[in-house]
């Protein structure tokens, strides 16, 4: 035999934990450490019957409410709210638990999970939600048993049957959940964007390259973006982000492009892709080098083919058309701007550049000479033991120190400029892991890359990746993962990809397009002048006031009064009789001569008219009588 209350307690711990875990990374220290401690206390206290009683939980809740309440501000709404939710959850766990309290735990956990969606959009949410639904479904059903029979026991076999049916409810609801998700009304733009995760930014791409700033580079495996694409040759996988056109001191930075320069990718075979950037800090839109068109996002384009996203508040997704390896034809470039070098540049580099300029007649000759020089130097690619100090580029090129892409690109660009060839750095990513399950490339942070564009007279901007001239470049990427691990990771990543594709990116536009495809709504449009804000200002206070009033009334009205109100409502509906409150209940029973009402009055009167509250059994009996009255034929 199994005690229903014990099972309800265990389920309540699980439900509370599912509210807490998705939030744990975003909580203040007090709730973060308090919750596990309280959970442990609750597990022990529930077994020993030593839970918090009386007004202690209420007082503690109010104190925390005040503490977090004063932290609320326009820019900090979600933080204090989720902290408070977790504290309330902890307090509820530690105090004595009746039916109403269990329901409060379920509601708080659900709100906590909802709060987590304002902080994190990961696919793990789905797992938490499904688990929470299953646990809440089982708990609600067991709570029904508990309410009927009190703290009773149930045979193990029966418990299995009850749990099986209850747990199958969320699974049976799956098709409906998906249907509701698709058809629930969406607005053209979020009204309370302040609450959302900032998902408008595109990548963590740095807008400054400073070789020699650190002796080593840490490689981070975070996903930067995914690109829905056919598989491509590895040497085509250059993802263009930013162009750094000015060397200031020892750093390459981006300055506004001068003059009337206008770059256009040259001819070549076109590759179409859809890019799904992960939220990050940078606004630059990445695309396969060289991008010709971008659609599906609001952006600004500079003449050196750098795209900057306009803030949208939504998670991005855009389509690109690129010509891999194309030369960028550009008219009206300011040669002086792309030849400028700082005066305190390494003397050794400048004199090498001048020497190349003398030996090569054309820009293309000079580039060839530099390539040969780099190859002859047998430079090594590494992210460790990097040169630092006053002349890192000189140490890299002349003193045999290894360097990473920033050293290669920066050194080449400096030498090109010194050799009178306009040059600039292009920052982005190189390579990517192709996910055969989803048919897309995953590009991670550690694939950040810098290469060079040299302006060759008569041709245009030509892409050059000097890192490829390193003696060990072929082995830099390493073997990577193979076998089961890779497959598992690929499936997990594909899940995350489809999650973003179908769930996170679903919006009004896609909803309408889906409906259009279904042939139902062909002409649905939203007037652009329609503003929902005034409506919002009325609706929110109204809803809050309504909730408070409801809560207040619900707390104030005893269940005896509620039953009586329901009885009178039924009488009114069934017999059309508005029974005046000053006339007695027994009169009502005599007048209507309905056995169910007579029985109701008898049970009710036996308790209430003898100054006693209804017992649990009586309450249940009366509810059943009312339900029976409702179902009975006229």
């Amino acid at each position: 035999m199994v005690r229903i209350k014990s099972v309800l307690d265990i389920l309540a711990y699980g439900i509370a934990l599912l509210g807490f875990v998705p939030l744990v990374a975003y909580l203040d220290n007090i709730p973060r450490f308090l919750f596990p401690a309280v959970l442990l206390f609750a597990v022990i206290a529930d077994r020993r019957g030593a839970v918090l009683r009386g007004h202690v939980p209420t007082v503690v809740s109010i104190l925390f409410f005040i503490y977090f309440g004063i932290q609320f501000s326009r820019d900090n709404l979600v933080g204090p709210a989720v902290n408070l939710l977790v504290i309330l959850l902890a307090v509820r766990l530690a105090s004595e638990k009746g039916s109403r309290h269990y329901l409060q735990i379920y509601a708080l956990a659900l709100f906590a999970l909802a709060g987590s969606s304002l902080l994190n959009l990961s696919a793990a949410f789905l797992v938490y939600l499904l688990l929470l639904l299953v646990l809440i479904a089982v708990s609600l059903v067991l709570l029904t048993f508990y309410d009927r029979d009190g703290d009773t026991v149930i045979a193990r076999d029966d418990m299995v049957k009850v749990v099986t049916v209850a747990a199958s409810m969320p699974l049976a609801a799956m098709p409906l959940i998906l249907l509701f998700f698709v058809i629930l009304p969406r607005t053209p733009f979020p009204l309370w964007n302040v609450l959302n995760v900032s998902s408008g930014a595109a990548t963590g791409l740095s807008d400054k390259v400073q070789p020699g700033a650190a002796p080593a580079v840490t490689e981070v495996k975070n996903v930067v973006f995914r690109a829905d694409s056919p598989p491509l040759a590895k040497n085509q996988l250059y993802w263009r982000g930013i162009v750094l056109n000015t060397l200031e001191g020892d750093s390459w930075v981006r300055k506004p492009v001068p003059g009337a320069e206008r770059g256009i990718p040259g001819p070549g075979s076109v590759v179409s892709q859809t890019i799904f950037p992960e939220p990050g800090r940078s606004r630059y839109l990445l695309a396969l080098n060289v991008p010709r068109h971008l659609t599906g996002v609001r952006f600004a384009t500079d003449s050196d083919i750098v795209h900057t996203a306009m803030p949208s508040g939504r998670r991005l997704r855009y389509e690109t058309q690129s010509v891999p390896g194309a030369v960028i034809t550009s008219r009206g470039i300011d040669r002086g701007f792309y030849l400028r070098l700082p005066s305190d540049l390494s003397h050794r580099l400048v004199s090498l550049g001048r020497q190349i300029a003398r030996r090569g007649k054309t820009d293309a000759d000079r580039l060839d000479l530099l390539e040969r020089y780099f190859v002859d130097r047998k430079l090594r690619y590494s992210t460790m033991n990097l040169p630092t100090g006053s002349d890192p580029l000189g140490q890299f090129l002349f003193d045999g120190k290894p360097g990473h892409c920033e050293f290669f690109a920066s050194t080449l660009a400096v030498l090109l400029r010194a050799a009178d060839v306009p040059a600039r750095l292009v920052g982005g990513y190189y390579g990517g892991e192709y996910n055969e399950v989803g048919g897309y490339y995953v590009v991670t942070e550690d694939r950040a890359h810098v290469w060079v564009e040299a302006y060759l007279d008569g041709k245009g901007w030509v892409m050059v990746d000097p890192s490829a001239w390193a003696v060990n470049f072929a082995g830099v990427e390493g073997a990577g993962e193979r076998g089961l691990n890779r497959r598992v990771r690929m499936y997990l990543d594909a899940f995350s990809y489809f999650w973003n594709l179908t769930i996170i990116n679903y919006d009004l536009e896609r909803q309408i397009s889906l409906f259009n495809r279904a042939g139902r709504l062909r002409h649905l449009s939203f007037p652009s002048h329609l503003s929902l804000r005034p409506l919002l200002f009325i609706a929110v206070p109204l809803l809050v006031a309504l909730s408070i009033w409801r809560l207040y009334v619900w707390q104030r009205v005893s269940r005896e009064e509620r039953l009586l109100k329901n009885l009178f409502r039924l009488v009114r509906r069934r017999y059309g009789v508005e029974w005046p409150p000053d006339k007695g209940l027994y009169d009502l029973a005599r007048t209507l001569d309905e056995p169910l009402i007579t029985r109701f009055v008898h049970i009710y009167g036996k308790a209430v008219y003898h100054d006693r509250k209804l017992s649990r059994d009586e309450y249940v009996q009366l509810r059943f009588l009312l339900a029976e009255l409702l179902a009975a034929p006229h």
């Binding site: 609600l140 059903v141 409906l176 339900a627 029976e628």
Partner: protein, 278 residues
């Protein structure tokens, strides 16, 4: 519902699809719980079996047999109501059957019908109690309420005292045999332990003594009106026959000869129940 509305409001305002997901999940869950609650009280058949003897105004135990016809789903937390009486079924297996008792009384003698019972359940979530009626079509004879009448035939004045045979059943003496509950037996005679074992109610029959035949003349019974006379006659038939005395009945146009079998007693009681109702 309130939670769904609140999160739905937040979802529309933030455009956050994960909140939309929660709202969809709650709505889907509500819909499924509604369907499950509906299914829970469907696919059920009720059979109400009355005891052989039912007396007007006397509470009697009926046997309620509930069958769950559903092939996949068990039914939970059912409460069956009939004429103010209630029987609980905590769990009904799929395609299973369960038996319970209902204590109920009928007012007025004659043929009574029970057309429906109501089955209610708060399953799966205790927010609503759903009910539906199950057809029964039960027709049963209710005998007049047995009421003692002063001055009527007294067994002691006519019979021989002593301990003759033990053919009739009585309420005193040794346990003679165990028989099925007939409805006319006092509750204290129910053998609960055996009833539980057999799945139907069993009563202890105690031995009683046998007496001489007697004919009851309805018209000459000392009572104010017909109903009282019939009640008195019922009381006498039962009491005298329980004492082992053969009893006959003189109605206005007919005479039923004395006999002492159980079938005869039920025939007499039926005549009394339908008397004047033709």
């Amino acid at each position: 519902m309130a939670i769904t509305l609140l999160i739905g409001f937040a979802a529309v305002n933030t455009g956050n699809n994960l909140l939309f997901f929660i709202v969809s999940a709650l709505l889907g869950f509500m819909a499924v719980s509604g369907v499950l609650g509906w299914l829970n009280i469907h696919g059920l058949d009720a059979v109400l079996t009355p005891p052989d003897e039912l007396y007007s105004g006397v509470s009697t135990l009926f046997t309620l047999r509930l069958t769950n016809r559903k092939r996949l789903l068990p039914s939970f937390l059912l409460q069956v109501h009939c004429d103010g009486a209630t029987a609980d079924f905590k769990l009904m297996d799929r395609q299973g059957m369960a038996i319970s008792s209902l204590m109920t009384a009928f007012a007025g003698r004659g043929l009574h019908t029970v057309e429906v019972v109501t089955v209610c359940s708060p399953f799966p979530i205790n927010f609503f109690v759903r009910c539906r009626t199950l057809p029964l079509d039960l027709r049963t004879m209710v005998f007049p309420a047995p009421l003692g009448c002063p001055g009527a035939a007294d067994s002691r004045s006519h019979g021989r005292s002593g301990s003759l045979s033990a053919r009739g059943k009585g309420h005193e003496g040794d346990v003679d045999r165990i028989v099925a509950y007939s409805g006319g037996d006092p509750l204290k005679m129910i053998h609960w332990r055996l009833s539980a074992r057999h799945g139907e109610l069993k009563v202890k029959e105690l031995s009683a003594t046998a007496r001489e035949p007697l004919v009851i003349d309805i018209d000459r019974l000392p009572a104010r009106n017909l109903e009282e006379k019939l009640s008195c006659a019922t009381y006498l038939v039962n009491r005298l026959m329980r004492e082992g005395r053969p009893v006959g009945l003189k109605l206005r146009k007919r005479l039923l000869k004395p006999a002492d079998s159980r079938g005869h007693r039920l025939r007499l009681l039926t005549e009394l129940a339908l008397y004047g109702k033709d």
